[in-house]
């Protein structure tokens, strides 16, 4: 059976490859997305003091260490059975919003916008952030500036841009200074301007990507995200909720270890990434999506004025939930707008400079679960400790795991739509990669996969001989 292998998939975070199997007529039969690296954090943390977990787990990822830091600290709060001071919670929320801003800016501007600006079929040598700098310098500058804003907030609060500290079990390690608050507030209007401009531009582009909208993992599925009483957008506080494609609630009020009853994890023979599924429906029918699209489908309103306007317009796209994964990009921009606006509100709150930012306690429970909405979706950290506070076992479900089944679905859908015949073209394979990029998967959770890695795609005949080959 002829097979096309895309290895590695570029402009994503981490290492992966895609296999596309064709029949003798050159029609796509099957397509699979494989993650080709293993990290092993669940194992290597065993026996370590639970207080070390936030810093250790943050090392999972260089793009979103803050998300792991937060989810891990929340799990530790749970082990200590403390309610952290209100100021600390607000400060943690600002960190999370800054993290969402910088990560989304990276995904949209650095990784995906070369496809929108230069075209899916453009020469791969040009179709990257450097090509974008040459042809659309203002857009590139804006993207870099927006990500820089998010990173600067993380640096001001957490001490470092990559792998900040500050967030600790029980709260944060020290209070916010007025000067830091003012410095962040001063940069917010520019961040809002850039995001609005990008939104305006992207909305105008959607018309040119009709085929991609139709085929990029566009299928009815459930969505999982954090929910709360107000039905406003929530990324830090709340419980988990599953909704179906018609926005009906499937399961609600999932907190703590309840997730084990609803989320199943299945191992794959051909990938180091497990596939998670909605347990009551089983692996075959339990597909759901997480991330920006899921969150916007989940909430009734964002809770900030400009993001609410954009959200209303976003809702017009479809009657029920927005189903095409191409719109993840659109949702990401709306989330940046919300994050920046929400940061502004939180920073204007006089309580934000409060001095009581940490609760101290020894372990009071043997188990703790921390749930957070990370940029790419729902993040779960679950730890079990012994009587001395050392980790006995850890389970982590990361956004990309939740999306794995949907990504595979999308890869197959796009391959069927765009790969025809026995002649390979860069554009069609780029679309297969682009559907993966739409989910912004974080595979290694590290920073070393830029767009310049070698790509070798081979189209093999039924007897294994090479029909066509593309190298870059």
């Amino acid at each position: 059976m002829p097979t096309i292998i895309i290895d590695p998939v570029t402009r994503i975070e981490g290492h992966s490859k895609i296999t596309i199997r064709l029949d003798d007529e050159g029609q796509v039969q099957d397509a699979r997305f494989h993650v080709t690296q293993v990290r092993g954090f669940e194992k290597l943390c065993e026996g370590r003091p639970f207080t070390e977990m936030p810093a250790l787990m943050a090392r999972i990822c260089g793009i979103c260490p803050t998300s792991h830091l937060l989810a891990s600290s929340k799990a530790c709060d749970d082990i200590m059975a403390v309610r952290i001071p209100e100021t600390a919670e607000k400060l943690r929320r600002i960190m999370n919003l800054a993290q969402i801003t910088q990560s989304h800016a990276l995904s949209f501007f650095y990784l995906s916008s070369p496809d929108f600006l230069l075209g899916m079929d453009a020469d791969p040598e040009e179709r990257n952030i450097m090509g974008m700098v040459r042809k659309y310098p203002q857009m590139a500058r804006d993207g870099i500036k927006l990500r820089q804003f998010g990173q600067r907030v993380l640096e001001m609060l957490g001490g470092k841009r990559v792998h900040p500290g500050w967030i600790v079990p029980g709260g944060v390690s020290h209070p916010l200074q007025a000067a830091q608050r003012d410095a962040i507030l001063a940069e917010i209007p520019e961040a809002i301007r850039i995001t609005r401009a990008a939104l305006q531009w992207f909305k105008g582009q959607i018309e040119n990507f009709r085929a991609e909208v139709r085929s990029f993992a566009n299928f009815p599925s459930m969505f999982l995200a954090m929910a709360n009483d107000t039905n406003e957008f929530s990324a830090y506080n709340g419980w988990l909720r599953f909704i179906d494609a018609n926005l009906n609630i499937v399961a609600d009020h999932i907190t703590g270890t309840d997730y084990l009853n609803y989320i199943g994890e299945s191992c794959n023979d051909d990938s180091y990434l497990k596939s998670t599924y909605y347990k009551p429906f089983g692996l075959k029918d339990g597909v759901y999506r997480v991330g920006p699209l899921a969150r916007l489908n989940m909430c009734q309103n964002a809770g900030t004025p400009q993001a609410d306007e954009e959200l209303a317009e976003f809702r017009e796209l479809e009657r029920h939930s927005v189903l095409s994964s191409f719109y993840y990009h659109y949702a990401r921009l709306i989330e940046i707008l919300f994050s920046v606006e929400r940061m502004q509100t939180l920073l204007h709150d006089p309580e934000i400079l409060g001095q009581n930012v940490r609760a101290h306690a020894t372990p009071n429970q043997y188990e703790g679960v921390g749930i957070l909405e990370a940029p790419r979706g729902t993040l779960i950290h679950h730890y079990r400790i012994d009587q001395n506070g050392l980790i006995e076992s850890a389970n982590m479900i990361i956004a990309t795991g939740h999306n794995n089944l949907a990504i595979n679905h999308g890869v197959l859908q796009v391959a069927r739509q765009f790969i025809k015949g026995k002649k390979l073209e860069q554009g069609m394979l780029n679309r297969v990669e682009a559907v993966v990029r739409a989910f912004d998967p974080c595979l290694s959770c590290s920073t070393h996969a830029a767009g310049m890695m070698p790509l070798d795609i081979q189209l093999l005949d039924a007897d294994g001989s090479m029909v066509d080959r593309l190298l870059r």
Binding site: A55, V168, P169, S173, T362
Partner: protein
Amino acid sequence: MNKPGVEICTLIIENRECGGRSDQTILEVAEEYGIFIPTLCRLSGLSNIGACRMCLVEVKGSNKLMPACVTKVQEGMEVTVNSPKLAEYRKTVLELLFSERNHICSVCVTNGHCDLQALAQKLGVNHIPMPYIHPHLMVDASHPRFLADHNRCILCTRCVRVCSEVEGAHTWDLMGRGTTVKVITDLKRPWGESESCTGCGKCVQVCPTGALSEKGQAAGEMLKRRQFLPYLSMMREVGR
């Protein structure tokens, strides 16, 4: 000064003429003259054992390197503190320490306040050329207030000395041989079950790395407070 048999000697350290008493070590005299010699296992107020070999110096007329913390000064000695050979030796000693157990700074409770880390930065250790051993060692969290992470121990024995010499409990000691040596409490009982430990925490404060720490501290939060040591040492001298 008035101890019997103690003489005044003149010697040269790093091309400087220095004066010291014959019961002083090269390190003590060098410090009086503001000449820096790196140290790790040594802590002022505790006995010197010359274990870490960081303070090695060259003494003219001897083909062996001498640990400055335990080598007494002599009349006419010529001591070299900084030379390419010494720099290489000291760096290698640190590299060997880093390669032996797990000293990943980023997640350590003493990150930013660690003697080993500070010395490595000062002496320019930026890569470890030898393979890591990374043995899988236990963390003893049985004590209600303190943690012993043997993965981060460099076997300097500061804990053993402070417990024996200052606190007088001698809870800590060494067990085993070679690279498998471990510091133990009582006769290798879990720290929390030790009968001799008074829970004073001096060992935690003098520990140069994150091997001994207070519970509940997140990465980089364990500051070592050693202010008590000069005072207690002085009182001990007075009492003698």
